[in-house]
């Protein structure tokens, strides 16, 4: 039998019962669109997280003191369980292939100009922090190594802070107060805009870590130490060397475990993607269940259709249709029904993904592989769930089909 003719009958029968066909397709439409949307949300989140982690800097290694609760148990006497400036100095001296190094001691503070005040995060960092973060300057300069060494009262403002304290005018050269310490504005960072999570990346100020430690927080410890390796290839060796230096510096015995944590960007990316990957899988499978339910809807309607059209099947057989002709006809009908549902589902998911991107902080992506897969799968659903009713129709005896009331 001719395919074109079979397709024509399929469309005719689908259009004959518009409402019923639509309701049947609805299951597949919801199934397909939810699979695409869910997987899109999962993968969008994954991409966003990866991007965020990468925006921390390039070839970055982060060093934190270990969680004292765990470290305290296994520590030998004399260990500090803190990262100090001495540790940093030793790392600079002994570890090769380091491009930039900077502590980050942050604190939420009120910063005050003559007329305005603004609450923001103050980061005590080294002059190399600019390189780590790849900051460019909108105005003025980043503070220098010399200013850093001598705890100068200088500050670099994020764009948001600069605009808040000095609306409409340049802030360079102005003096502002951080916890009553007067500091001079030497530079304003170029705007980085809001991050992927919607957070304002320009809402911060940077001062030399020495100034931060000596004059503002008074703390002697470094909460985070950023090291960036000269290239991707040496990240692992830099990490190992930093660890060795810190163990010696902290006088850890070989039986003691590390009292610090070193993580690289790729560690974090990996961990995050494994979590989002699982989330994607979970969301995708839940959506897959609805596609399955949609398939059952198709099977149900095809069974009804076979029953309703038993006499038609009989007539076709009486004029020479073979079992296979009838089988193919009903299979194609089921496939057209579910494929049409699949196409509509793809359209709807496209619109939903577009709207989610505009109106929410979610950043779902339309993954071509998933779209193709959903299309193939919805066709498959038609064949799989259409097979049983179609076979039932094809195995009818001509006379039984003709006599069916």
């Amino acid at each position: 039998m001719k395919l074109e003719y079979t397709l024509k009958i399929a469309f005719k029968n689908i259009l004959k019962n518009k409402v019923r066909s639509f309701l049947t397709m609805l299951g597949v439409i919801i199934g397909v669109s939810s699979v695409i949307i869910m997987v899109g949300i999962g993968q969008g989140t994954q991409k966003k997280i990866e991007k965020e982690i990468n925006s921390l800097g390039t070839n970055l290694i982060m060093i934190y003191p270990a969680n004292s609760r765990f470290a305290g148990v296994s520590q030998g006497s004399g260990s500090t369980n803190k990262i100090t400036l001495t540790d940093m100095k030793k790392i600079i001296e002994e570890v090769s292939n380091i491009q930039y190094i900077s502590p980050d001691i942050s604190s939420n503070e009120q910063v005050i100009s003559q007329n305005n005040n603004y609450r923001t995060t103050v980061h005590g960092v080294s002059d190399q922090y600019q390189g780590i973060k790849d900051y460019t300057m909108a105005e003025g300069e980043f503070f220098t190594e010399a200013q850093c060494k001598s705890s100068k009262n200088v500050i670099v403002l994020g764009k948001t802070v600069s605009d808040a304290l000095f609306p409409g005018i340049s802030s360079i050269g102005k003096t502002i107060r951080v916890r009553n310490i007067p500091v001079k504005v030497v530079g304003v960072l170029s705007s980085k805009g809001s991050g992927n999570n919607g957070m304002d990346q320009d809402d911060l100020v940077l001062i030399p870590y020495t100034t931060m430690m000596n004059k503002i927080t008074g703390s002697k410890y470094i909460r985070t130490l950023f090291v960036s390796a000269v290239s991707k290839d040496v990240i692992d060796t830099v990490q190992e060397e930093v660890s060795r230096v810190l163990r010696i510096s902290h006088k850890l015995k070989s039986t003691n475990s590390d009292d610090f944590t070193i993580s690289t960007q790729s560690d974090i990316v990996e961990k995050a993607s494994s979590i989002t990957g699982m989330m994607t899988l979970l969301l995708g499978s839940i959506a897959g269940v609805s596609l399955f339910v949609g398939g059952i809807g198709i099977m149900n309607i095809m069974l009804v259709s076979v029953t309703e059209r038993t006499r038609e099947i009989g007539t076709r057989m009486a004029v020479g249709a073979r079992g296979d002709d009838i089988l193919i006809q009903f299979l194609i009908e089921a496939s057209v029904l579910s494929l049409a549902g699949g196409v509509a589902g793809i359209g709807i998911s496209g619109v939903v993904i577009f709207l989610l991107n505009i109106f929410t902080t979610l950043t779902p992506v339309m993954n071509l592989t998933i779209v193709v897969l959903a299309l193939v799968f919805s066709g498959g659903v038609g064949i799989f769930f259409g097979y049983y009713p179609a076979r039932k129709a094809s195995q009818l005896n001509p006379i039984d089909a003709l006599r069916y009331e």
Binding site: G314, V319, G320, G323, P398
Partner: protein
């Protein structure tokens, strides 16, 4: 004349339950020559439809042998039977059995789609030719609900003709039609028979049987009588007489028809 159909001791038993069964045919022998026109008559429930369904390869006998055009039908599988129905047989039903919401042309094309010998591009021409043979060349795009009963039956006849079958089988083709329309249908059948098609037709109206060449009567699943029609009538002539107002010849059979319905 060459034999086209031969039935040898055909039996058909329907088992209703394990203990109850109906013997619809109890050993039927018939031989039909090419070009014959047979009317099968008999009371309701006598086994006429069962016989026709077996002749049409829509059903298989419980016992006995059926040769169609020299081939023993019981040696064929389902697909081969479908091929036989498609190529050698045409079946006309009492209830027309047209596909609804499908035009006359498409209905007539149906057997061609299941045929493996014709070319797609010839379908339309063949179907139009078949519709013209039954006088419906001007109703190609009408769907069954736009056609009268007689017109629907003519579409069904065109459908059964489109693959140029050897035998045309019709189970009470005029059972749902009024007198004038029945005459129309019978004149088409006579014309087809004149063109060489073998016809077997079931009717319980003696007047309809008068248009056939040979009458076989069935009772309780057995052949009772088998005779050649004397003074065979021409349906075309009867139509003229009917139009002239002389409906006298039909009153009797109409009464009979009324009783049955």
């Amino acid at each position: 004349m060459e034999t086209i159909i031969q039935l040898k001791q055909i039996k058909k038993t329907y088992s209703l339950t394990e203990s109850v069964s109906v013997q619809a045919l109890r050993g039927v022998d018939i031989e039909i020559k090419k070009g014959d026109f047979i009317a099968v008559m008999g009371p309701s429930g006598s086994g006429k439809s069962t016989l026709m369904n077996i002749l049409g390869c829509l059903d298989i006998p419980t016992d006995g042998e059926y040769f169609l055009d020299g081939v023993s039908v019981k040696t064929l599988n389902k697909d081969e039977l479908a091929g036989l129905r498609n190529e050698k047989l045409g079946f006309v039903f009492q209830g027309f059995n047209l596909l609804s919401r499908t035009t006359a042309l498409e209905n007539v094309e149906l057997p061609l789609f299941y045929n493996r010998t014709h070319d797609r591009k010839d379908f339309k021409a063949l179907s139009i030719a078949a519709l013209e043979r039954v006088g419906l060349g001007n109703r190609l795009d009408h769907t069954p609900n736009m056609l009268s009963g007689g017109q629907q039956q003519r579409v069904a006849i065109a459908r059964s003709l489109v693959n140029t079958p050897k035998v045309l089988l019709a189970d009470e083709p005029t059972g749902n039609l009024d007198t004038a329309t029945s005459l129309d249908i019978m004149s088409i059948f006579q014309e087809l028979n004149d063109q060489g098609i073998t016809l077997v037709l079931v009717t319980h109206e003696p007047d309809i049987a008068q248009f056939a060449k040979r009458v076989i009567t069935v009772r309780d699943g057995m052949i009772r009588e088998d005779y050649q029609v004397k003074n065979r009538k021409s349906a075309t002539e009867e139509i003229e007489r009917f139009k002239a107002g002389n409906i006298q010849i039909f009153t009797e059979s109409e009464k009979l028809h009324q009783e049955v319905v």
